[in-house]
Amino acid sequence: MGEDAAMTASLRTRTAIRLGQAVSELSRRAGRGQGSSVGGKVMLAVDPQALAAVATGHRVAMVSGTNGKTTTTRLLAAALSAEGPVTSNSAGANLLSGLVSTLAGAPPGALGALEVDEGLLPAAVTAIRPVAVVLLNLSRDQLDRIGEVRLHAESWRRALAASPATVAVANADDPLVAYAAHDSAGVTWVGTGQQWRSDAAACPACGGRIKWAVDGQWACDSCDFSKPSTTIDLDGNDLVLPGGARLTLDLQLPGWCNRANAAMALGGAIALGANAAGAVAAMSGVGTVAGRYQVLDRDGVQVRLLLAKNPAGWAETLDLIRPAPLPVVIGINARVADGRDPSWLWDVPFERLRGRLVIATGDRGRDLAVRLRYADVEHGFVPDYLEAVRATGESDIDLAANYTSFQDARRALGGSGVSRD
């Protein structure tokens, strides 16, 4: 690039950032969310190279995958906080527009903990050249628009092979993730103990069959693709590090899935130079994440909010719901951000809810009601969230919902800070 061109690009980037930040500010003042996406869109429209430019001088770890992105990014940001200022798209603005506006607003030299949409990870890796990429899992999600989960694994693999300075922190118990990280120059393999296997029956490398042993080892029956040996392992509440050192997690966030998220976040934090013990301690300070696990009090009824977006996520969330006979409210939408086809409801083991009343709600509550009917679960359909909560007749309940239904529920029940732009 000639000197003139460099000057032009730099001026162009500066203009893009100023314009974008002005638009963000306008959007914020108009009460339309946090404005980071719309501002980022303006920046990228003015200067398509802005993402690479604003990333200069920041050491970044990205987090991507089907489930746990927002929570893991939050845990990673906490784990890095002892190392200095951290910038993070904590509101979940995980498209390129959200990344560019997050980095443009970051203090000089800040570490980056960035959540990235799984479809955009290759573009983000190419532009930002992160120090580390945390690859959580890949499973079916939003079938109507994303299509084939294997295509993500393939495009991740190509992007990482072309970014040799990037360390992949990869979930070794997810064959699709293992395939994606397989050709990376540096990999930290994390043993999470993931149980969801329904999307990895066919070998991503050769189309053969993946066979699982009782101890969680897996291997293809037709080629030499198999579970890599791990460097960090989740064992109950403990994280086992190389050399056998153990650190005990003390998370406020519930369940196996969040311990697995913490294991993955630790791998990312270590790749950025964080002290492992300090990182684990810092993660215990994370309480709610963008409203997940938050308890709302509406008219004397305590409602704990749980979010799950796809079959793998629901399988975890059903385990977090307080046990029968306590009723539970479940909200289902099928808007663009949820995926327009809720057929996945039939891949969720709702049979586990037998023995209690389930109130179905949301735009697609009727689909859920029919699913519950065939699962032999006592149920009702109440379209309005507040009425649905009241219909349980209880004063302390759980409400689980998918993406936009979760936001609707928060709004309807009076939760604060609901915004996504």
């Binding site: 189309g207 409801l345 009727r366």
Partner: protein, 248 residues
């Protein structure tokens, strides 16, 4: 009382991407509610396929797993034997394509199908066919309007004389220029309808069951009728409701 019926769900881990395994639960429940025993047998890739069951189900899946499924089924020959013995088969999307004469594999090459249905599937032009579908069922099947969700790249041409499942009112269906959706040959049904199709269309579930269990008592499906009415209305209204960033 009829003996328990066996429902075979073929390769749910390969052909279960779109919730089609729910069809097995629907069939089993609709038998249970009528006091008829039912057993769902899930057959994983590599396991032998039983030849003497009453109902066989195949779902949609991705290209790679679809090719693996057809290899296993051709090697076993069990599905052909079962169909000859009068079993009912419901095959959705990738499963439907597998039962035809040929389909396009992940490498773009033509794969031989099982030849149980007189149809062949090519990679269609343009974007995937994705969205709500409404189908007027073929006269003679005695079914009401069918509702479901399609999501496929392939277009399927029926052989001369092959009977479609119905005529597309909303959506794309077979999309080979004749306005048809799916195929019915004897007791073998192929369709692009997900939903799962039997959850949204209990009459089709009962048609399959009647083929192997004889006449059936009616069931109160009022709750399902509400869902059907909602989905058919939403599909026919045809309005694309784009998300507005200003309404959040």
């Amino acid at each position: 009382m009829t003996d328990a019926l066996s429902i075979v769900l073929l390769y749910p881990e390969l052909l279960g991407t779109y919730g089609d395994g729910g069809n097995a639960a629907v069939l089993a429940q609709r038998l249970h509610r009528r006091g008829i025993g039912a057993e769902v047998i899930e057959v994983a890739a590599g396991d032998p396929v039983p030849r003497s069951c009453e109902l066989y189900l195949m779902g949609g899946g991705e290209d790679g797993p679809q090719a693996l499924a057809v290899r296993e089924l051709r090697a076993s020959g069990a599905l052909h034997a079962a169909v000859e013995a009068g079993a009912a088969v419901l095959a959705i999307c990738a499963g439907y394509q597998v039962l035809g004469r040929e389909f396009i594999g992940p490498d773009g090459n033509i794969n031989a199908g099982l030849g149980l249905l007189d149809c062949s599937t090519a990679r269609g032009p343009g974007a995937r066919r994705v969205g709500e579908m409404v189908v007027e069922s073929a006269p003679g099947l005695g079914l009401p309007t069918l509702t479901g969700y399609e999501n496929h790249a392939g277009v399927t041409s029926l052989g001369p004389g092959a009977q479609p499942l119905g005529r597309v009112l909303v959506g794309r269906g077979n999309d080979a220029g004749d306005g048809s959706e799916g195929i019915v040959t004897g007791h073998v049904v192929g369709t692009y309808l997900h939903g799962p199709v039997l959850a949204r269309n209990p009459a089709l579930a009962d048609l399959l069951l009647s083929w192997v269990a004889g006449a059936l008592e009616p069931i109160d499906d009022a709750e399902i009728e509400e869902l059907r009415a909602e989905r058919i209305k939403a599909a026919k209204s045809g309005r694309r409701r784009w998300p507005s960033p200003w309404r959040r």
